[in-house]
């Protein structure tokens, strides 16, 4: 399976890419830990690729309130956080208590709470298991949110933990509606 970071996505018409990031960006790329998240690299992966994308756009947190208020976050992952799920199952099988920290990180919303609190992003929060390509479906959900009017920009994150044949990989795109005369993939402001 190809890691999400390894390819450049096709952006649907009607969307404009404002910033982008991938993980890993280099062969030696490492994931910083996040306080309160344990066992799995899924949440650090999501947080780090989001951080890189938002820094590309805004340099440092928080994002400007006028934009952040209606910036949504979409996390698309076909397999999800398999490492946390396995850790829970293993604990039960062994008759051990489940670590309390796994309570909140067992659903994908939690790490989005970390990102949105840090950057002040107060638009809708959506997580999906796509039936097809994760990034493409994340962008499709972004288009729905923009068309619906509950968001003016959307941070789309596609993330997958490694399976037997690849390594962890993630892509993040900050997208907004394409304006008149704007190419779909053209940043609109200095970073």
């Amino acid at each position: 399976m190809t890691a999400p970071a390894a390819r450049r996505p096709t952006v649907p018409s009607g969307l404009r890419v404002l910033a982008r990031a991938v993980w890993p960006a280099t062969d030696g790329d490492a994931l910083p830990p996040i306080a309160g998240f344990i066992v799995s690299s899924f949440n650090p992966l999501v947080a780090e690729v989001a951080e890189r994308c938002l820094r590309e756009r805004y340099a440092a947190p928080p994002a400007p309130p006028a934009r952040a208020e209606s910036t949504a976050v979409v996390l698309a992952s076909v397999r999800g956080d398999t490492a946390t799920a396995t850790a829970v199952a293993d604990a039960l099988r062994a008759g051990r208590r489940v670590p309390p920290l796994l309570f909140f990180q067992s659903n994908p919303n939690a790490v989005l709470g970390h990102i949105t609190a840090r950057w002040g992003l107060a638009g809708p929060v959506v997580c999906t298991s796509p039936g097809g390509d994760a990034l493409a479906d994340g962008l499709a959900v972004a288009r729905l949110l923009l068309a619906d009017g509950d968001a003016t920009e959307v941070l789309v994150i596609a993330a997958e933990l490694a399976d037997d044949s690849d390594r962890d990989g993630a892509t993040a795109l900050l997208v907004g509606p394409a304006g008149p005369g704007t190419a779909p993939d053209e940043p609109d402001e200095p970073r």
Partner: protein, 355 residues
């Protein structure tokens, strides 16, 4: 337009099993027999008998909702949106549900915890309102399982006294419950074109985030209030037109207080008189399915002309100054809200209009 729906819960199959106990405030909580709970602080949940299978339950609910949406429509190719826990098997489950029901492919399974079902419904409604689709089926399911039960026990989220008591003094947490629901949503033109009776109208929907915390809601409820405001604005409805709120109301002390703050922001002084209950107090917290199950139950209650009773209520809590429905009562509100909130500060509001 809501032209068909189906519900499955600990009370059994169908609206006829769920609605009467919800209107009476009779909870379904009982000791869990599906798996061992001896190691936990809480040992009850609202579960169906035996060991139901999620795929089978979703297939049955989708079939029943489509059958409810009479007269018969052509279902081949109709988009199906699912909501369920984030799981590596979701793609397989979605493909099987689509194949066995004969509906179209499932583009995605919504996994955004306790707003997954309501988010799927909002996306469906948006696409219909913009004329992108004529008809969508949305289905959601959660079945109480040992892993989730252990996680909620570890997080000290379950009610210590084995009773869900939303908005009540003495509440100590939530209780889990099986929930499976399916809803057929159609454009007004499509429903009228085939002469389909309308159960209710999804008049508005709104979504907003807290930007506050990994797992706790903003204490001032600002995100949920914005979601409600968005739903009302989309529908062109004033807060004063809302006659009932099926609240998120998990029974968690700080969460219910935050929701109360949101309702006071939206309704102002009227917040103390708008009838509010949480049907989680009878069917339990169905997590990813809760938004759709509670929306369906809100539709059913409007149709019945009665308000669901908030079970387990011991008395007022100063942090939850609301008109909690504690006795069975008739009412015919034109509009009702179904609210949900989740980890990560995700909030949704669905505005239901009586047909």
């Amino acid at each position: 337009m809501v032209t068909g729906l189906a519900v499955r819960s600990a009370f059994g199959t169908g609206a006829g099993a769920l609605l009467p106990p919800a209107l009476a405030g009779t909870p379904a909580f009982a000791p869990v027999t599906r798996f061992g709970t001896a190691a936990y602080r809480t040992n009850v949940a609202a579960t169906m008998p035996g060991a139901p299978d999620l795929t089978d339950e979703l297939v049955a609910a989708v079939g029943a909702a489509c059958a409810d949406a009479t007269p018969a429509a052509g279902w081949a190719g109709v988009p199906l949106l699912l909501a369920a826990h984030a799981d590596r098997r979701n793609r397989t489950v979605a493909a099987e549900v689509a194949a066995r029901t004969g509906l179209g492919a499932v583009p995605r399974t919504y996994t955004a915890a306790c707003v997954a079902g309501s988010t799927a419904l909002a996306d469906a409604a948006g696409q219909i309102s913009r004329g992108e689709l004529d008809r969508v089926v949305v289905a959601a399911g959660y079945l109480v399982d040992p892993d989730t039960f252990a996680l909620f026990d570890a997080g000290r989220a379950l009610a210590r006294d084995n009773q869900a008591r939303p908005f009540s003094a003495g509440r100590s947490g939530l209780l889990l419950g099986d929930g499976v629901a399916a809803v057929v949503l159609e454009s007004a033109a499509a429903a009228a074109g085939r002469g389909a009776p309308v159960r209710a109208r999804l008049a508005g929907w709104g979504r907003a985030g807290d930007a506050y915390h990994v797992c706790q809601p903003r204490p001032d409820g600002a995100g949920l209030a914005r979601a409600i405001g968005s739903a009302l604005q989309r529908a062109g409805v004033l807060p004063a037109d809302v006659g009932y709120v099926n609240a998120n109301g998990t029974g968690t002390p700080f969460s219910d207080a935050a929701e109360t703050a949101a309702l006071h922001t939206v309704f102002g002084p009227d917040a103390s008189s708008v009838p509010v209950s949480s049907t989680k107090s009878v069917h339990g917290h169905a997590l990813e399915a809760s938004g759709l199950l509670e929306f369906a139950l809100t539709v059913l209650a409007l149709g019945a002309g009665r308000l669901p009773v908030n079970a387990g209520y011991l008395g007022p809590d100063p942090n939850c100054a609301l008109a909690v429905v504690v006795e069975a009562r008739a009412a015919t509100p034109r509009y009702a809200l179904s609210l949900n909130a989740a980890f990560g500060g995700a909030n949704t509001a669905l505005l239901v209009a009586a047909p």
